[in-house]
Symmetry: C2
């Protein structure tokens, strides 16, 4: 019957939906769908709740070929840590694309977002990074820095990770966690230029509002995944980088208002017209990397399409595992 | 604790949250808040899913003074009835305005929307209708037509209801249901002009795309609640009505794109500048009805503020009744 609603908690989802190749493949399908016709992805609905130093984003996307579409509520309340609560939380809902009925509620507290964001980094690396990667540099020391590195390892099994962060202790902790999780060499590198110089893949995963990756650090053949900029005012890359590399957006309409593209356009250094999207590369509409020496940059602002893809994937896995609570709602 | 999530099904909510004066009062608080400062109510997020003859609206509103804010997902899939499923469904989420954490999930399938929409009609009638109402005319024969009449009866205990609808059988069924529910005289009236002439309150509750209430039917002292127009292309009132009555919008920014105001502006008959909102009348910023002979019109497009108010009300009642399922999510 289709009138039941499956309720899945964060614990259910962490048990059932790992960061693995299947999650990367599911996320890739989102970008492929985005390159096709019939996608309905409205602009992000944003609310600023100043009284509580909070913001809420709502994202949604209908993708042809998917049985359901997700609506995601992502709050970020930045005074929460002082109360022992996480800043980021939220949930997703999957509705039937045929009937609009609610199929599943994911009380994931942001876990599926973490997953699909990391998985998008792997999709970008698989499509754009050089085929041989020995060293990855990650700029940032948070949960997403760790997950991005783990996701990249699924598609480019590198041997070494250099972690750069403003806080040496946090950088060392991040490196230790990565070493344990992946069984690779991982260490903090306090000099960002050295860390970048040694890496074939550079991942930026910070909430930076001023560039942390400089244009003079670019070197032939490298791939950059910039995933930190998801709203106006954020930005991790020096604007010149976009004009000196093959720049790919996850979604142009988002990148020009909340991604790295926005900064480059404002700085007047973007003269490339409409850049290609990741889905264009995946579907062959754009050739992507065409030489080993080319420098590629993928700008990930985070799309509702990824939410629809990961929610669909999670529901399939949960059903198979018999996870969650089925409510006759 | 605050980390639990309360899950309430439609059955829980129908049992726990009736259409009564408390629901009307809760809804009134939404409009009062809308007239104040600090409200964050982004434009409705809309998706058209043409492949399934469906549409989805997402509404949200933060209201100062409310502990939580609601995000509502409202799908309408108009091929559903052929499969024995309702066109309208959906759900609401209430999040803490202090932390952004999810407090309650209302798997209400649209019940709370029906409730807060009917309650808004009662708020409008209480604020604007003449104090003595003997007869109500309702144009429309659906669920909301019934609920609007029941809600109006809470604030103006009239003795007689005339139901006009295009389908005589449905009109008779609607009248019979109202008579049973309220214990008042209720009958179908096939002549719309006669029905309107006899009534002190006229409620339009249809999905009409061409006017069903004509300007020449207006008569001194009457109050009109028009609740059917909630998107561009809909409209129930002849445009001239707005310039010949005291016109009040639930929210001007919505009424001018999806309410009756839109039609009057396009027809060029609206010359009144920015109309007052219902909250302006409730807070005394606008005097509202100033004479027994005045004609008043309230245009209800449906606001996220009402969702926040009804969800807050529903959560309080559900907690008191011990209803629903508490998940350690």
């Amino acid at each position: 019957m289709g009138r039941d609603v499956l309720i899945l908690t964060e614990a259910d989802l962490r048990r059932t939906v790992p960061l693995d190749r299947a999650a990367v493949d599911a996320t890739e399908r989102a970008f492929v769908a985005l390159a096709g016709k019939g996608v309905v992805m409205p602009p992000v609905m944003s609310m600023q709740i100043e009284a509580a130093n909070g913001e809420v984003d709502v994202k949604a996307a209908y993708l042809p070929g998917f049985d359901g579409f997700a609506v995601k509520i992502s709050p970020g309340f930045f005074d929460n840590p002082a109360q022992g609560l996480p800043s980021l939380s939220g949930m997703m809902v999957l509705l039937s694309a045929q009937t609009g009925l609610v199929e599943a509620v994911f009380l994931d507290r942001g876990y599926l977002t973490e997953l699909r964001t990391a998985a998008a980094g792997a999709v970008a690396a698989r499509a754009l990074a050089p085929s041989l990667v020995e060293t990855v540099c990650v700029m940032g020391t948070g949960a997403q820095a760790r997950l991005q590195v783990m996701a990249a390892h699924l598609v480019r099994p590198f041997a070494r990770v250099l972690v750069w962060g403003r806080d040496a202790e946090r950088a060392a902790g991040c490196a230790a966690d990565i070493a344990t999780a992946l069984g690779v060499e991982a260490r903090a590198e306090p000099d960002a230029a050295s860390a970048v110089a040694a890496a074939q893949i550079v991942i930026t995963a910070t909430p930076a509002r001023a560039p942390i990756l400089r244009a003079e650090w670019l070197h032939p053949g490298m791939h950059v995944t910039a995933m930190g900029s998801d709203q106006d005012g954020k930005g991790e890359l020096a604007p010149e980088i976009l004009s000196r590399a093959l720049y790919i957006a996850d979604r142009v309409s988002q990148a020009e208002v909340m991604g790295e593209l926005r900064g480059a356009m404002r700085a007047g250094v973007w003269t490339g017209g409409r850049p290609p999207e990741l889905g264009d590369v995946l579907t062959g509409r754009h050739p992507g990397r065409t030489s080993p020496a080319q420098i590629t940059v993928c700008d990930l602002t985070g799309t509702g399409a990824q939410d629809t893809a990961i929610a669909t994937h999670a529901l399939a896995l949960a059903r198979r595992a018999g996870a969650g609570l089925r409510l006759d709602a």
